[in-house]
């Protein structure tokens, strides 16, 4: 940590000496241990030793950024010169600000040290569990890793934040096979801070493996109809992330494309939808502590009971738009659970889909999208029927938020977000 602090200090001195009015330096060491499984067997063990230094400087409202891996003194000098030259070339923009609070802080979170032997045993156990309990699953790739991180953030005002953090990450890509028949591939991911539980218990991993096994036989939906789609937490997260990016972000508001520009205090989602951006929530693993502008992140509520409370604005965009910056701009989404279990929500669906993955074009700035429903099942008269193929859903994500009829009582915590299932009414579903 001392080397990182000294590197930041040296870089800031160079930037200030070079004319920077304000400057930031971030330095890190990351050690990664990673086991890979390919086509069902262990194939690779990697250890990575990475360092990085990122510099930002403001000169008369002109911003430059430069980053590199090396922390050697000669390279730090070169990087600082690069950063200053970039800033000098930029256009002045008074909306650029960095924190200048002269604060100190030391943060420790997660699993800082890697238990390599236990990590391998948990990996092996997961592979064997899948083979035993889900015999039709072929593990295309399984990546299980641990990152141990030391980071220092420092700025020209004297602020220094240090952080030691670490986490285990489980990432699976698989499909189910029976003779010549095969399901679509599916990915399950989770992050955790200990090895106390078998990996199969993380997130929705067990349910997702079981669902994919039932997706070998598929049928296209016949014709086109308007129905209810029940989104799994992963797909609901996609909907929320696109809504935040297209409607509530500084970029969308500045571009003038956000339909929510005048909607603070108004309903933008169904009652019962409460969304927080919460990097400090205990269920989020190693949420970011410091913003890109050097401010400490705090949790906040973006949508409360369907009503928009504000926007997701950095200080830069807040200044551009003459609005208040938000307490953070992270994608650490936490959505409150509702009153009914997902199974009961599905029982109330006359005709629609249980959507496990959407493969689709990026929604347009206005929210229009069409996508193929992958890893999805037809729902008829409250029952989950066949898995579907060649079936598309079309709509607008802004309308979909308003058409949510229920969010599930249970939420899925995968370390990155906390999300329930959500059912959405009046969605166009089209088959062959």
């Amino acid at each position: 940590m001392e080397k990182l602090q000294n590197t930041c200090k040296k870089a800031l001195e160079l930037l200030k000496k070079g004319g920077a009015d304000n400057a930031q330096a971030r330095a890190s060491f990351v050690t990664t241990n990673e086991f890979n499984v390919d086509s069902g067997r262990f194939s690779l063990y990697r250890t990575l030793y990475r360092s990085s230094l990122s510099l930002q400087a403001l000169i008369g409202g002109r911003e430059g950024r430069a980053s590199a891996e090396s922390l050697e003194e000669e390279d730090v000098r070169s990087l600082a010169a690069d950063c200053l030259a970039s800033a000098a070339a930029a256009k002045p923009d008074d909306c650029r600000v960095y924190a200048a609070e002269n604060r100190k802080g030391d943060f420790v979170s997660g699993a800082v040290d890697c238990d390599r032997e236990k990590l391998f045993e948990r990996s092996k156990e997961l592979l064997e569990t899948v083979k035993t309990r889900f015999p039709l699953i072929v593990m295309e790739q399984m990546i299980i890793s641990h990152d141990s991180r030391k980071t220092v953030y420092a700025d020209a005002s004297g602020t220094v934040y240090t952080r030691r953090s670490g986490e285990y990450t489980v990432s699976l890509m698989y499909s189910a096979h029976d003779g010549d028949k095969t399901s679509s591939f599916f990915g399950s991911d989770a992050v955790c801070t200990d090895l106390d539980r078998p990996f199969i218990e993380l997130g929705r991993m067990e349910e997702e493996l079981a669902e994919v096994q039932r997706q070998i036989e598929t049928k296209p939906v016949e014709g086109k109809f308007t129905g209810t789609v029940v989104l799994t937490p992963g797909v609901f997260g996609w909907l929320i992330d696109n809504a935040v990016g297209n409607f509530a972000s500084g970029g969308a508001l500045f571009e003038g494309t956000s339909p929510w520009a005048e909607s603070v205090g108004k309903r933008v989602a169904s009652p019962g939808v409460t969304l927080r951006l919460a990097p400090k929530d205990g269920r989020i693993v190693n949420g970011p502590v410091v913003s890109a502008e050097g401010f400490l992140n705090e949790d906040f509520c973006l949508i409360e009971d369907g009503v928009l409370q504000g926007f997701v604005l950095s200080h830069y965009y807040a200044n551009k738009l003459k609005k208040q910056p938000s307490p953070n701009t992270t994608p650490c989404y936490v959505v409150d659970g509702g009153g009914k279990e997902a199974a009961d929500i599905i029982k109330g669906v006359k005709k629609g889909l249980l959507v496990g993955r959407l493969s689709g074009g990026r929604p347009s700035a206005g929210g229009e999208f069409s996508a193929v429903a992958k890893n999805s099942f037809l729902i008829e008269d409250g029952e989950i029927k066949d898995a579907v193929s060649e079936t598309m859903i079309n709509g607008n994500i802004r309308d979909m938020l308003m058409q949510i009829s229920a969010v599930s009582a249970e939420t899925v915590e995968d370390g990155n977000s906390v999300l329930p299932f959500a059912s959405v009414e009046n969605v166009v579903i089209s088959g062959r």
Partner: protein, 461 residues
């Protein structure tokens, strides 16, 4: 990077083991102007050294963010230790990795490095032209990106290489308002292989593309939703290139074949119309340098073209050394790594459908009721060959003539079914190389194709 330093580390290789030692430097320069403001202005680089060691069926790998003899020896030791750790716990006992013909390949020229001011001045002038000549815009963004990947490679069976792939692009992104009040947008990447100064002499050179993109956007601003369902379509060259990459290319990557992709067991079978041939080109295609030429892969295999479909018949997969041994095929240089801290994976290089003999005009004239789809903003496919592409520009075809522009939509299908419906193939090839293919690691790739007439599912209202 210092070749002599790296090559001097061969003495640290463990006798009898297959070892790959690579030093690599990736560089990126990027500037974005949003409505005239510089919202992104950054220079970055990463570099270091890595080693990969094979032992009885498993690999050990290690990387360090330094490029020195000491660092090289350190990663060889660590990678060896990792291979031993995994071998002790798995005991697969597989045979040694197949050797390869001696290859010494050098395609390196020091990359130019334009100062950030050049990018900002270039974009400012371009942005001023857009602001003046495109009055109906809701928003505009221009972005310049240059990235390069320089690699030095040494393998225990004698391959030596020093290569660089620089590429640079300007992205134009324009947004207008549809008559319904919703925003519509279009983005156009311009550029290709080479440093920024090589590809972009002056902003004026891009004004015709700005005018054309603006014209298309105004058509889209009066656009209509596609009629959902299976339709007869003419896919433009960009779309067929994406089809070549996403819907076919990934299913014939040998690691995905081993995981059970739809192409498993189909070598020699008819998977497309006899009009369709498809190849993953290494460095030269149809007599010209391919968009992102690869001469040596990161396992030390000299790169050659990989024929995938010939006259509608599946004829090959893309392999690394291990998978080539499994399938009894020749490795053709498809094992590529993105960063110094990445191991080689089976990747595409420049994947294209071969051009045919139909003119685009004849193809459009032959459609009574369908669509001409020209641009895509993304695409995905899975191992079943079921694909989806976002369509961000297209037109109705009514009685052989182009009609109204389309709003954003999606097409989908199952590749080996859809390719059998191809009954006309255009005579002009279009390449795209601005994107990154995603597969554990990103990777710059080229994709290309001619116009194709086929039946495909289209989304809509």
């Amino acid at each position: 990077m210092d070749k002599d330093m790296l090559y001097g580390c061969k003495s640290a290789f463990i006798p009898g083991a297959h070892v790959e030692l690579r030093a690599q430097k990736n560089r990126q320069r990027a500037v974005t102007l949003l409505k005239g403001d510089v919202v992104h202005n950054a220079r970055s680089q990463s570099g270091g050294v890595c080693a990969r060691v094979y032992k009885d069926g498993v690999w050990g790998f290690s990387s360090l963010a330094e490029t020195s003899a000491e660092a090289a020896k350190s990663v060889i030791d660590a990678a060896t230790g990792n291979a031993v750790f995994l071998d002790d716990r798995t005991g697969y006992g597989l045979p040694p990795i197949p050797g390869a013909a001696y290859a010494r390949v050098e395609h390196f020229a020091p990359p130019k490095d334009a100062p950030q001011k050049l990018y900002i001045d270039f974009l400012s002038e371009l942005d001023a032209y857009i602001e003046k000549h495109c009055p109906r815009l809701l928003s505009r963004a221009v972005m310049a990106v240059e990235d390069s990947m320089e690699k030095l490679l040494l393998t225990s069976d004698g391959a030596e290489g020093h290569n660089i792939i620089p590429r640079s692009y300007v992205y134009l992104s324009l947004t207008a308002e549809h008559e319904s009040g919703t925003p519509v947008d279009l983005t156009l990447p311009i550029g290709g292989f080479g440093c920024f100064e090589d590809n972009f002499a002056s902003p004026e050179g891009l004004y015709p593309q700005v005018d054309e993109l603006y014209s298309q956007l105004l058509q889209k601003a009066e656009g209509v939703h596609a009629d959902a369902g299976e339709k007869l379509c003419v896919l433009g060259g960009m779309m067929s290139g994406m089809l070549a990459h996403e819907a076919v290319g990934h299913t014939v990557e040998a690691d995905l074949v081993l995981a059970g992709s739809v192409a498993a067991g189909k070598i020699g079978q008819v998977v497309a119309s006899p009009l369709v041939s498809l190849t993953d080109f290494a460095n030269t295609a149809f007599g010209e340098t391919a968009p992102l030429p690869v001469y040596l892969d990161d396992e030390g295999i000299e790169a050659k073209d990989a024929p995938l479909i010939k006259d509608g018949v599946l004829v090959g997969y893309m392999n690394n050394r291990e998978s080539a041994r499994h399938f009894g095929m020749e490795p053709l240089g498809n094992a590529r790594a993105f960063a110094f801290s990445d191991e080689p994976l089976v990747r595409m290089r420049n994947t294209a459908v071969h051009p045919g003999d139909s003119s685009l005009e004849d193809m459009i004239a032959s459609v009574d009721d369908g669509y001409y789809l020209t641009s895509s903003n993304n695409g995905q496919a899975d191992t079943t060959g079921e694909f989806m592409f976002g369509v961000c520009m297209g037109y109705e075809i009514k009685k052989g003539r182009l009609g109204k522009a389309l709003l954003d939509t999606t097409i989908s299908g199952i590749a080996f079914n859809m390719l059998k419906t191809v009954d006309m193939v255009g005579d002009k090839l279009t390449w795209v190389s601005s994107g990154m293919c995603g597969k554990k690691q990103p990777m710059p790739v080229g994709m290309g194709g001619p116009a194709l007439r086929c039946r495909v599912m289209i989304g809509g209202r």
